[in-house]
């Protein structure tokens, strides 16, 4: 532990600056809330936004001297991969804070503890991706999860919200137990908790031992819970529906991206001997996940529940990308062009995570925008009738997000799906790709239903109406980005591919 890998403390701390700024900022927001009595409601959100901007700046300046650096004796690593996701998480948190503040303004009441919790959850996500040790991984996961449990229950006085928080907590604890058990077994098998050590031990094996299979299987269950993979998904609809809508957006994009990113880093570690073991079971689960999500989403009347099932389906698409990556580690034909296929697959997943964050967060942003207050969210789809006349910008933005979620060009959702399917085909998994396309077709129906309600049905008295301008402005910018990345995905996809390449090859 005393070994600091030949780097002095100051260098390490400067490399850790984004995390430190975020942690200190979260504590600061807490203290300001506790001490300053004459606080007006927008002060805390301003302060949180400043903190997040500070993190972004620290992360960005850190990228100037970007090179793979193992920090704190191998507990975390600073590489392009973590840099990429830090940016994503900061953006997600920025938007979440903006959306929430907008609703608080409209509501007239605000919850001060929301802000530090979002900041701590973001810190957890960032560390989750940067973790290169099982200890850090677990701590980061719990930092994120505990914050999110509270955020989910943040709508005090609402039975649904409390119930959701409770369910999420119980199920989350359940999943954490599996994860922890897996980590313990892995430690027993490899004799270390650092990725480097685990990786070395695994690389030295000819085939996977039973213990190793069990260990990684249990860890996979833990991750599967976070990304809402069937059959570990049951909490998703209830929690997504019960949580305040801005928190749902945060969970669906940030938490999911963090879990997938950490899973990819972990999968890379175990790729050589475990790809064969994981592949068939993950294949089945990916197919079931996307099919299940899309099928059940069809018969929903609550937009949040619909998006929850859609989020399950999207987990399936993401798993397809992970599968294409796993395929490169198997002892079959693909292995000869492992790097090409692997980079395509990993790059596609990274691209999709960014695109998914943009479009899903945007959709939840619009839901937040239309909500009257925290007790009356714009949840039932019927209430969207005639929105196109009443709130044209909000309706158009939501339409863009839904089109993108359905994967219709020229949106980022289409390009993202295209990259994923392309990678899957490259990995010689054509049937999987076809099934993915069939699923996307299926999904068009329920997304279009909302758009049709907005554009074809006349407005009624109880149709939703607009909220704060910051929210709709942020959502509008997101919609433009969704379209722009749909037309010109080149730069981002290049970045995603390079990022993955530096991490994995």
């Amino acid at each position: 532990m005393t070994n600091v890998a030949g780097m002095d403390l100051a260098t390490q701390l400067s490399a850790l600056l984004p995390y430190l700024v975020l942690a200190a900022g979260g504590l600061l927001v807490m203290l300001v809330d506790a001490f300053v009595k004459s606080l007006r409601k927008e002060h805390l959100s301003m302060l949180s936004l400043l903190v997040l901007l500070g993190v972004a700046v620290a992360n960005f300046t850190g990228s100037m001297s970007l090179s793979d650096r193992t920090l704190l004796g191998g507990m975390v690593v600073n590489d392009q991969y973590s840099w990429f996701f830090n940016m994503l998480f900061v953006a997600v948190a920025l938007l979440t804070v903006t959306f929430a503040s907008g609703l608080y303004d409209r509501d007239g009441h605000y919850r001060a503890e929301f802000y530090p919790l979002v900041l701590f959850a973001t810190l957890g996500m960032m560390l989750l991706v940067a973790a290169t040790d099982l200890m850090t991984l677990f701590l980061a996961l719990e930092t994120m999860s505990l914050s999110v449990y509270v955020l989910v229950a943040g709508n005090r006085g609402s039975l649904r919200s409390s119930e959701a928080g409770f369910k999420y907590l119980i199920m989350g604890a359940f999943a954490s137990a599996f994860l922890l058990m897996g980590m313990a077994l892995l430690y027993g098998e490899t004799g270390g908790t650092s990725y480097a050590m685990i990786g070395d031990t695994i690389a030295g094996m000819n085939s996977a031992s039973l213990l190793l299979k069990l260990a990684t299987g249990l860890i996979l269950i833990g991750f599967g819970f976070k990304i809402a993979m069937v059959p570990f998904h049951m909490w998703t609809p209830d929690v997504y529906e019960g949580a305040p809508c801005y928190v749902t957006g945060f969970m669906a994009t940030g938490v999911k991206a963090a879990a997938v990113a950490a899973l990819l880093r972990f999968a890379w570690l175990t790729l050589p001997v475990l790809a064969d073991v994981w592949f068939p079971v993950l294949m089945v689960l990916a197919v079931v996940t996307m099919t299940y999500g899309n099928l059940v989403a069809l018969s929903q009347n609550s937009i949040k529940r619909m998006l929850a099932y859609s989020s399950i389906a999207h987990a399936g698409y993401l798993l397809m990308g992970v599968l294409a990556y796993l395929q490169t580690g198997r002892d079959i034909g693909v292995a000869t062009r492992a790097e090409e296929v692997g980079v395509a697959a990993g790059g596609a997943v990274l691209f999709y995570l960014v695109g998914y964050a943009l479009m899903n967060l945007g959709a939840f942003g619009i839901v937040t925008y239309l909500s009257k207050d925290r007790k009356h969210e714009a949840d039932t789809i019927d209430g969207y009738a005639g929105l196109a006349q009443k709130r044209p910008v909000a309706a158009a933005s939501l339409a863009v997000f839904l089109f993108s979620l359905a994967g219709i060009p020229p949106t980022v959702g289409f390009v993202g799906k295209f990259y994923i399917f392309d990678a899957v085909v490259k990995a010689d998994l054509l049937p999987l790709a076809i099934w993915g396309v069939v699923n996307s077709l299926l999904s068009v129906y329920y997304y279009l239903r909302v758009i049709m309600t907005m554009y074809m049905k006349p407005a009624e008295d109880d149709s939703y109406s607009g909220g704060s301008w910051e929210t709709v402005f942020a959502a509008g910018v997101l919609a433009l980005m969704v379209l722009m990345l749909g037309v010109m995905p080149g730069t981002l996809s290049q970045l995603a591919r390079n990022t993955f390449k530096f991490m994995a090859y």
């Binding site: 005393t2 504590l27 203290l31 506790a34 085939s207």
Partner: protein, 123 residues
């Protein structure tokens, strides 16, 4: 591979078989003469007067939670204290002290927050 999993499989299947066996045995062998009295919660002893899920004041819960939190985190001081001598010998006492300082100050921030928010007041 196979040799490894055989004992495990044996144990798992034995457990399942045993559980099923006893269930089936009790079902088959047990006399079945149900009556109203038999389906009450206890055949012997005193009938329950109220719900088993008793209510207690939520403040207790909060205090218990806070106690658990700070008590548990204080536990971290012990391994640190034991290792500290090693740090001193390695000439990294400052580092170790700083680490613990950071840890404790985060705890203090939490404590101050609870205090200012009125979490420690009974009313």
């Amino acid at each position: 591979m196979a040799e490894q999993s055989v004992p495990l499989l044996l144990v798992v299947s034995l457990a399942i078989v045993m559980a099923l066996l006893f269930l089936v045995l009790s079902y088959v062998l047990g006399p079945k003469n149900a009556s109203a009295l038999k389906s009450t919660s206890y055949e012997c002893g005193i009938p329950a007067r109220s719900s088993v899920q008793i209510r207690f004041f939520v403040r207790f819960f909060l205090v218990a939670l806070l106690f658990l939190l700070f008590d548990l985190e204080a536990v971290f001081l012990y391994p640190w204290a034991i290792l500290y001598r090693g740090f001193v010998e390695a000439g990294r006492a400052g580092f170790a002290l700083g680490e613990m300082g950071a840890f404790v100050s985060i705890l203090v921030v939490g404590f101050v927050y609870v205090w200012k928010k009125g979490g420690l007041e009974w009313q």
